[in-house]
Structure formats: C-alpha cells, structure tokens
Symmetry: C2
Subunit: 298 residues, 2 copies
Amino acid sequence: MTDAASGIRIGTLAVIGVGLIGGSFSLALKRAGLVQRVIGVGRTQSNLDTALRLGAIDEATTDAAAAVSQADVVLLASPVGQFPELMAQIAPALRPHTIVTDGGSTKQDVIAYAKRFLGEHFRRFVPAHPIAGTERSGAAAAFADLYRDRNVILAPHPELESSAVELVRGAWEACGAHVVELDAARHDEIFAAVSHLPHIIAFALVSMLAKREDSRTLLGFSGGGLRDTVRIAGSSPEMWRDICVANRDALLTLLDDYAKELELARGAIESGDGDALETMFERARDARQRWLLKERAS
Amino acid sequence: MTDAASGIRIGTLAVIGVGLIGGSFSLALKRAGLVQRVIGVGRTQSNLDTALRLGAIDEATTDAAAAVSQADVVLLASPVGQFPELMAQIAPALRPHTIVTDGGSTKQDVIAYAKRFLGEHFRRFVPAHPIAGTERSGAAAAFADLYRDRNVILAPHPELESSAVELVRGAWEACGAHVVELDAARHDEIFAAVSHLPHIIAFALVSMLAKREDSRTLLGFSGGGLRDTVRIAGSSPEMWRDICVANRDALLTLLDDYAKELELARGAIESGDGDALETMFERARDARQRWLLKERAS
C-alpha cells in the first residue's frame, strides 16, 4: 500500500508491545492504508487477544525474533527497561533492509542500547518519542486518533541513514502527528521537566496520602483539583520506573530544583510571608495563562 | 419565598465577594426561589457590573456595612485574608437576627476571627466550606449548578445556635449540595491534605518551570499530563496565599511528609532502585483506582 503524499509503503510491521502507544500507531497506519500486515508481539496472550479483536494487529506472537524476521519495520513500544534484552534478541533475526524505531520516553539511553545491541542495524534505528498518551495502558486503551495533532520527536544520531528517518517521519505524519527533530540530550532534558517530573510529583502525592491511616476518608473529601492533579498517577508503574531510571541525571537536577521551590513555599508559610507566596503563585498563574493562550493560538 | 421541603426563606441576602463561590451560591438560591433580594458587595465596580448583568445579584455596593444593615443572611465569600477587617466593619451594622456564614477554605482561623470580631453575632456565625470551585475566579465564572452533588462542610462551634445551622444547611441543600458536619481542626487537616497541598505542589511546579530561561520552549513541548497536573495553578494567587497562611500548621506537617516522599523517589532514582520506584508508583496507582471506583459507585 502506498501513501499518495509520502510514497511510504510498509509491507509488514512488527509492533513489540501492543499497548496504548504501539496499538494506536498500528491502528492509525492501518486506517491510513499504509501498512499491509501487522504482527503484534507481547508478553501476555490476553492483551494480544484484545489487540487482535480490536484489529490493531493481524497476527500475534510472543516470539519477538520470529516476528521481526518477517518485518520491514519494527516498532519497539514496550517499557524502555525491556529494550536491551529485546534488542539483543531481535538483532540476529532482522532482515538487512529492516528499519527499527521506538516509542520510548527517553532517548539517550535508548540510543546507547541500540548502538550496543543492534549492531549493523544501528544505522537504521530511528529514535522516536510520540508526545501522546493517557493514564490508561494496554491494547484496550489504543485508538487510531491518539496521535492527531500531537508532536512526535525524532532524535536522529550521526550514523543514521536518512532514508530510515524519512520513512519513520512519513509514518508518523500519516498518523496525523507533527514531527519535530531534537538532539537526544535536549529531548531528555525537556521531557524530564514537562513530563517525567510531573509524573513523579503526582505519584509521590498519592503515595504519601495512601500511606496515611485515614487515606480513604481524605480521598472521600477530595474534589476536582486533586483528581486532575493526580490523573497521571494512574499511569503504568513499570513504564515510569524505567523512565525514571533511564533519565536519572536530568531528573535528579529537576527534583533538586523542585525541592528548593517547595522549600521556598514552606519557608513563606512558616514565617507567614504572604507576599512571597503571592509572588510565587502569580508567577505560576501567569506562566500557565501564557502557555494556554499560545496553545489555543497554535 | 419559602422552600417547600425545608421551610427556608431568606428576605435579603448580602454576598460579600461576588466571585465564583458567592455568585454561584446566589444564582443557585435564586433559581430555587429561596431568596427575595441579593445585595452584592465588592471591591471593583467592573466585577459587580458583571454580577448584576448575570443576575447573580440585584443590587451592588462597595459598602459592606450598608449592605449587611439590610440583610437577613450574610455570606462572606471574599479571600479569607480579608475576613478580620470585613468582620470588624460589618459587626456594628448587623441586625439582631442576622445569620452570618462564609465560604472560606479554612475553618479554625475563620472561627477565631468571628469570635474576636463578630461579638454577639458569633452565636449566629455558621462556618462553612463548599467543596466546589474551578481554577477560574470572578463573577463571570459563577453558575447556578456549581454546587450540585458537591459536598459542603459545616464546622459548627460550641456557641452556635442550632437554628442558624439549620438555615445554612437548608440553603446549601437547596443549591443541590450534600451537607457534612466536621470538627474545624479535622476539616483543616483534611483539606490541607487533599486541596491545599495539591495547590502548592502545582503552583510550585509551574513557578519553577517559569523561572527557567527556556520555559517557553519547555511548555511548548508539554502534553496533557502537565496540563491537568497544573490546572489548579490557574487559581487565585490572593485566595491561595490566604489559605496557606491560615492553615500554616497542618500544611507545614504535610509539606514535610511530601518532601520526604519526594526524597524517597529521588534516592531510588539516584541509586537506580527500580523496585522501590515501582512499589511507590503502584501504591499510588492502586490508591487512585480504589478512590475513583468508590467515587463512581457513590
């Protein structure tokens, strides 16, 4: 099948990890008529069955090497912590022309794994990160419109073949996404700030409340404010564990900055310094407003 | 006007601070046909004009004492930091039978102010806290359904006349709210945990990001996760300044607990302890799921 605009055609796509990210990529490419066959690779049969039932994949297997031996494009969409083992497993089975890409939320570590484990195929490994997702996970959460008008970051490395980048760019554009290229280190720094840190903040808040003996009473009295603030604490613990470990350095710096900001608020509360609190809260409100205005305008 | 169920009738209601909370209370009581006349008291004419135009109030003034001298019920719905001055100002003008209530987010401090400044009227001061609100503020944000199926906490004090409690309870029920009584100290502890702390967390996160030179770039790459997490950072800086100062003791304890939880996450990231991170994230996700299930069931 051929996309009129990009000329892209994918015979067989192997999606390793058919969850929200992998399943939605497959559904969007199928709807765009860009892919002929999708093989889903997973760890649990029940999730693969769901993906088959939803039409996200055409065939299912738990054998990643067998799947990629038939694939023209491979998407790694499992938690990043599984990438080293998966890459080592698939590398010998990859066909010479096969392009490998991923959907991981960190890029420096993934590039390092690919360089180490994919051998010759590193030249056709396109590091990617779709900025989309909900707090839900698994194939049942996948939908074809997940990537519409969302950013997808590509973080090309120096050894990468440009034809591989172009294919992956075209595939994401066919999903309705805007493709942006970023240096891997800058990518990891940016998303540590706007995604990984907020997740840790939300997880830590609910974890702290959950440890209290009166946690059920507390939560029973909560309103929409807490509900939205901790929505992302519903995200996959395994995925976020891997992200935190992978993006260690950027996160440690940000956690220290954030702890300092909280300490400023604490100090102002302790000393009854209403002006300092108001200044901080105004800075936050104004920045949020500018950001939302810009978002609406774009 | 008389409410068939409760027999409540309010001749003249004075709403001091015609914003989201005060304006919505007025709109809901008017729709229920419970109140004959509403006088809005505010600091800025433009907001009062908006409230008049929306029908939230029938008359507008900047003179709180003049307004309460005609009122049967007074709702204090301004930021809590203004309460001492407002109470001192209105106390001499209150009619003997007039009931005073409030919509403040903290209760121990408000009760202390009322005891100090309302004199004889302390017996008819009903401390209340509607658990409703959005990140928007001002009369333009008010709507009659704000309180439907939401909790309103009453925190009665020992000197309070039961007839005053019953009137205020009936008024909130007529707005569609569920009324719950709590001890003031327990109220402040609960809402420090599920509302005040989350606001500080959100304000501090955006404030920290806004201080960075690359803040616009960062926010430009952010997705729905950050957007929801910091929605409440759009709330009124003045109102939240007052709440933080008022609920100092409960907040300091919680901020310390939260800093410890973040430090646990930081330590696990630093040492690459994925198991510890996963345990924390799972605790959070499971608690959130139990809470949402319970919410849906109720």
